[in-house]
Symmetry: C2
Subunit: 374 residues, 2 copies
């Protein structure tokens, strides 16, 4: 039994104003070629197919065409769940018809206890759900953390876990201690979002989405596939690809990570402006997406434009000459989460500390904005 | 062979600021019940499923659930084409999977010459296409009118029309002399959009969408089904429903129109303000959607609010006291098309007549806006 594990495609993603659709098309064409050679028994996509709940028609066509290649042309069964970026309704559109062709889309809690069985392996698909969605589904106001929500969902599944079969959980969540990147949007604001590894003891193997590093956790039977591409400059030099999970006759599970070469990588280059503009620094590829952090450029008129003449896909430029000031003014803020920024702003404007009540209200508003779908 | 002909659902339509989704849900539930009794061999939907190319998730769910009931639960084959209101890509999403279950969605010209055959009847599905789309598809710059575009499309189909079978054309277009309503958006601005009836001589029967009156044309073998609901006050008292088309063993085609009672009708009430507010005028149902045209209300403070207390779904109010002035200032403008409004505005501002060149440019801009999809 050969299973492919992928996640976090984030189709339609825009990085520093740059649409990445061409890069995504390129890497998905390669992915389809890989699948044609691999001939897996099933492909699992663990959430965040889209980057927004309201994808453009080009983005929807890219997903549709990719899945059609895999599922209709290559006749490979596909299981996908919605992540925190996907709009459930839009991702789920057409799913009643798709199941006839072994394309399984799971976006709602109502089906999580029903495993999808392929070649005797049970796949339990757990789409991303907010705490309040889980509360509402189980009619249980006591569920107040992601850990409690997960426990309740797994409890609901356990009635149907067959001890004589391999059972695999597919989820979109954060494991405690998992390595994060700048491109992951928080699942909830104001609550601990990570869950304990032991939560999954009932499953032989766990296939996760959400964290973008393919080696975010270091457990034998719990894995993130990582994202389709490098989606932030914090992911520079990170390999991106998919996992092949093999289950042998004695139910032994083994996996390997396979990388796919992208159209363009992300590069961060620190150095002197003149060195960069005169090409005295080594870069992997001049067509890559660059974040330059340069010194000695204060006297240059429109340095960004000049850099783009040599490195056309330059996406960010930081003036490193006044490193300390910069760090205080911009860099630190960029690294803060939304709630901390609001907190600092409030405190600097009023000279008062923000109250717990106010803090909760802000979290509530931010969560609503984040979950809002048009 | 029993065929159901419907069109112009316009899901997501907003009438004078009022979302009609509840009304549409209501009438589609009835439609599903009718279909369960009718047990047709196929349902044809002749375009304008959606009202906009970018429908909301609730609107998409309504279409998905309705078609799933008809096609998956009742197992009735469905053929649909896109109209001038639909976004081709969005309507077409998932269609490669749907065909396995006899749900045929046609939005592109590339398939128009391939008939869909059901019980020995050939259905030629012609989605709405702009003149420039037809030009482009046939690589023929000589196509400059809707008539030429239609002729070229039918010519392309004719290679596959089997003389020994009944062949039916499904289209979304305007027949010359067909009765129009205010709720139809023009297919193109600045060009004659209507086509001759004789264009269809090769087909035994023609099922059309676009015009909202179910008896827009009075031909034995060319019919509009009319829209799902009354979508403008020009459609007051118009029956809305679907057509049943029967083809017997000797290929004789007969149709009948069946109406469906809506949740709310549209009513236009002319009269005296006091009579209306004191309920001395007869209305069909106080919950209907009203356009009141009233006299003697100039001294009333916020008459709309007062009317809504009695007739909660009042959508429009015209002051009929100064009938002639009103007509000159508002009513006439409302009845004009966009291009005429721009022309009058230009002429009243410059005291010059608009040139043919300018007029063509305006038509081009308006057409671009109309066809623009996000």
């Amino acid at each position: 039994m050969k299973i492919i594990h992928t996640a976090d495609w984030h189709l339609g993603r825009i990085l520093n104003g740059k649409q990445l659709l061409d890069d995504q098309k390129y890497v998905l064409t390669k992915f389809i070629n890989h699948m044609e050679k691999e001939q897996p028994d099933v492909i699992v996509i663990a959430g965040d197919l889209y980057d927004t709940s309201y994808p453009s028609k080009e983005t929807m066509s890219l997903l549709e065409n990719t899945i059609a290649e895999l599922n209709i042309i290559l006749q490979i069964p596909v299981i996908m769940i919605s992540g925190n970026h996907d709009g459930k309704e839009r991702l789920n559109y057409g799913s009643s018809w798709f199941e006839h062709n072994h394309l399984f889309i799971r976006t709602k809690l109502k089906d999580i206890h029903k495993p999808i069985e392929i070649n005797g392996v049970q796949f339990f698909a757990l789409p991303f759900a907010t705490i309040s969605e889980v509360q509402h589904f189980f009619e249980d106001k006591e569920i107040n953390t992601h850990q409690q929500a997960l426990n309740r969902c797994i409890e609901y599944m356990s009635q149907n876990i067959d001890e004589n079969k391999v059972s695999i959980l597919i989820g979109h969540l954060t494991i405690k201690g998992g390595k994060t990147s700048d491109s992951e949007r928080p699942l909830t604001i104001g609550t601990v979002e990570s869950v304990e590894r032991q939560s999954f003891d009932q499953f032989e193997y766990v296939m996760l989405g959400h964290l973008h590093h393919p080696f975010s956790v270091n457990e034998k039977n719990i894995k993130y596939s990582g994202s389709l591409l490098q989606y932030s400059f914090s992911e520079v030099n990170q390999a991106k690809g998919y996992r092949i999970v093999n289950i042998d006759e004695v139910y032994h599970v083994e996996d390997t990570f396979k990388s796919i070469e992208p159209l363009r990588e992300l590069e961060v280059i620190e150095g002197d402006y003149d060195d960069v503009i005169e090409e005295r620094v080594s870069v992997k590829n001049k067509d890559n997406y660059f974040h330059f952090k340069l010194t000695n450029m204060s006297h240059i008129n429109d340095p960004m434009m000049k850099l783009k003449q040599i490195y056309p896909n330059t996406l960010a430029l930081t003036n490193n000459t006044f490193e300390h000031i910069e760090e205080f003014n911009n860099v630190e803020i960029k690294k803060q989460d939304d709630q901390s920024i609001i907190k600092s702003f409030y405190e600097s404007m009023t000279n008062e500390e923000i109250s717990e009540n106010q803090s909760n209200k802000i979290a509530e508003i931010l969560n609503n904005i984040m979950r809002k779908e048009v």
